[in-house]
């Protein structure tokens, strides 16, 4: 029974990794931009929520709704005035610029908040649990997983049911032709990054409630996000969720065998999937 418990905890942890990864997947899917600062943006989101909680005395669950529009605006401006300038046939400029952004963000956070690790304040809800037969499930992991599923359903609806989603897909397909149809790719990309940072904010909430964070943990979150996206197959959101779950399960199983193996087991699972399916589990037809 302990193994069933371990695997279920791993699946729920996968929800968190899927949240880390969805924003990355969205941005990559639409503009082929690999954002190396993604992990640091998650950490920044967590600090933003912490500041709102501390200054306004709000619950983190309320503060996140204030943080979301702020992060959307940040993403929009960042894409429109910085990252759009790096896009082109050459893939190196966006990598260099977001790598630089990652370092700048880490140092800015270090300067502003010191290297002390922080945590979002917990309450009765965050430590509550429910009994499901012989297994005890934390309310927080359940909420995290449910949020990940909702985010992915929401993104799929956005993509396939709305005018904006159609513009996203058209621009992703062929930005030049899209611009001849009257679409402004620069604004479409800015909106996409804005939405990605809204998802980042949700991920940041659960990151901050679940564990301690400090300015230096961004790159590791980026790696988990990357692995989830690549396992799932680039551009497939449900694949990203499955990728997150695979890493989550591998980590909890690894930790159950030996606590030192948690992180390693996740990376090994990633490598195994890559060996068997180099293009991920649900690759898009032509990428």
């Amino acid at each position: 029974m302990i193994w069933v418990d371990t695997i279920i905890q791993g699946i729920l942890l996968g929800g968190l990794y899927a949240l880390f990864a969805s924003g990355l997947s969205l941005v990559f899917g639409i503009m082929r931009l690999v954002n190396l600062a993604h992990g640091d943006l998650i950490v920044m989101g967590a600090y933003l929520i912490l500041v709102l909680v501390t200054l306004l005395g709000l619950s983190p669950f309320i503060a996140v709704f204030i943080a979301m529009p702020l992060m959307f605006a940040l993403g929009w401006v960042l894409q429109k005035y910085l990252l759009n300038r790096t896009l082109g046939d050459d893939i190196l400029p966006p990598l260099l610029v977001t790598f630089g952004l990652s370092i700048a963000l880490q140092n800015a956070l270090l300067e502003g908040f010191s290297a002390d690790s922080q945590r979002l304040p917990t309450n009765a809800l965050t430590t509550a649990s429910v009994e499901a037969g012989p297994i005890t499930l934390g309310v927080m992991p359940l909420l995290t997983f449910a949020s990940a599923v909702l985010v992915i359903i929401g993104l799929n609806q956005l993509f396939y049911r709305t005018e904006l989603g159609r513009a996203f897909r058209a621009t992703s397909d062929d930005a030049t032709t899209a611009s001849l149809m009257g679409i402004k790719p620069a604004n479409i990309f800015a909106t996409a990054t804005g939405i990605a940072l809204v998802i980042v904010t949700i991920a940041a909430l659960y990151l901050g409630l679940r564990a301690n964070f400090d300015p230096n943990i961004g790159p590791a979150r980026l790696i988990y996000a990357f692995e989830a996206v690549i396992i799932g197959g680039l551009g497939s959101l449900w694949g990203t969720l499955l990728g997150g779950i695979i890493i989550g399960v591998a980590q909890t199983v690894g930790a159950a065998i030996n606590p030192e193996w948690q992180i390693l087991a996740g990376h090994i699972a990633f490598l195994v999937v890559l060996l068997i399916r180099p293009r991920g589990l649900f690759p898009r037809a032509n990428d």
């Binding site: 005018e163 897909r169 058209a170 062929d174 032709t177 001849l180 149809m181 402004k184 037809a285 032509n286």
Partner: protein, 239 residues
């Protein structure tokens, strides 16, 4: 009244003059064919009209307004629609979605306002049965039809067709001609670049001949085709 008027339009890429002092008018509702050997500057002329490239000299008027310095997007909104020589559909979007994108953004309207129009266009271009198929799965004729449909979805007053009949079988070509005739009969002004001459002459009322960026002939298709100069330059026939 002429819907489009070019006055002394020139364009060079470096030392190469691709459009050389071109002047002509297209009356409202007319279909004008453009012919000329490869490299004569036919597609460049289209790019100048749609605003994808800017002219070095001269003026372009559309519906009486000077659009020489107006962006491609704004020209699209004022009613210039085009199809491309090589079909460029959004491959992962369905046929219907391809039209919706063109219609909503090309006319600045919401999806609700353009839904019926898009279905009408697909009906007219005989693509309605393929409406929900991803554009990447279409045959060549269907792609050409989609290219035409997408230009039509922006409800252009002036429709530019770039070698839309190329590469089709005779039967397919006839089917496409009927569709274009139908569009023309509804009062849309058409400028059509085409190497398939019989397709062109079965629709257009006037022919323009380009050679090395220069307009060397403009008039009744039969007279143009009969002229010695055109036969020599365009068809390379010693007469």
């Amino acid at each position: 009244m002429s819907i489009l008027s070019l006055k002394n339009v020139s364009k060079s890429f470096g030392a190469l003059t691709v459009t050389d002092d071109a002047s002509f008018d297209v009356p409202q509702g007319q279909a004008l064919g453009i012919i000329g050997p490869n490299g004569a500057g036919k597609s460049t002329l289209f790019n100048l009209i749609t605003g994808n490239i800017r002219s070095d000299q001269g003026n372009i008027h559309f519906q009486g307004r000077d659009v020489t310095k107006v962006s491609a997007m704004e020209r699209c909104l004022t009613g210039i629609g085009r199809s491309f020589q090589i079909p460029q559909p959004f491959e992962k979007l369905t046929v219907y979605e391809n039209l919706l994108v063109a219609a909503t953004h090309g006319r600045n309207l919401s999806e609700r306002d353009v839904r019926d129009d898009c279905a009408d266009v697909l009906e007219r271009t005989e693509l309605i049965k393929r409406a929900n198929v991803p554009a990447g799965q279409l045959s060549l004729l269907e792609r050409k039809r989609l290219e035409l449909s997408r230009a039509m979805a922006t409800q252009p007053k002036l429709l530019l067709l770039d070698e839309i009949a190329g590469g089709l079988t005779e039967g397919e070509c006839q089917a496409l001609i009927r569709t274009i005739q139908d569009i023309h009969a509804q009062g849309v002004t058409i400028i059509w670049i085409e190497h398939v001459l019989h397709a062109l002459t079965s629709v257009v009322e006037r022919l323009l001949v380009l050679d090395f960026g220069k307009v060397i002939g403009l008039g009744d298709p039969d007279e143009i085709m009969a002229s010695k100069e055109v036969q020599e330059i365009y068809l390379g026939i010693e007469v």
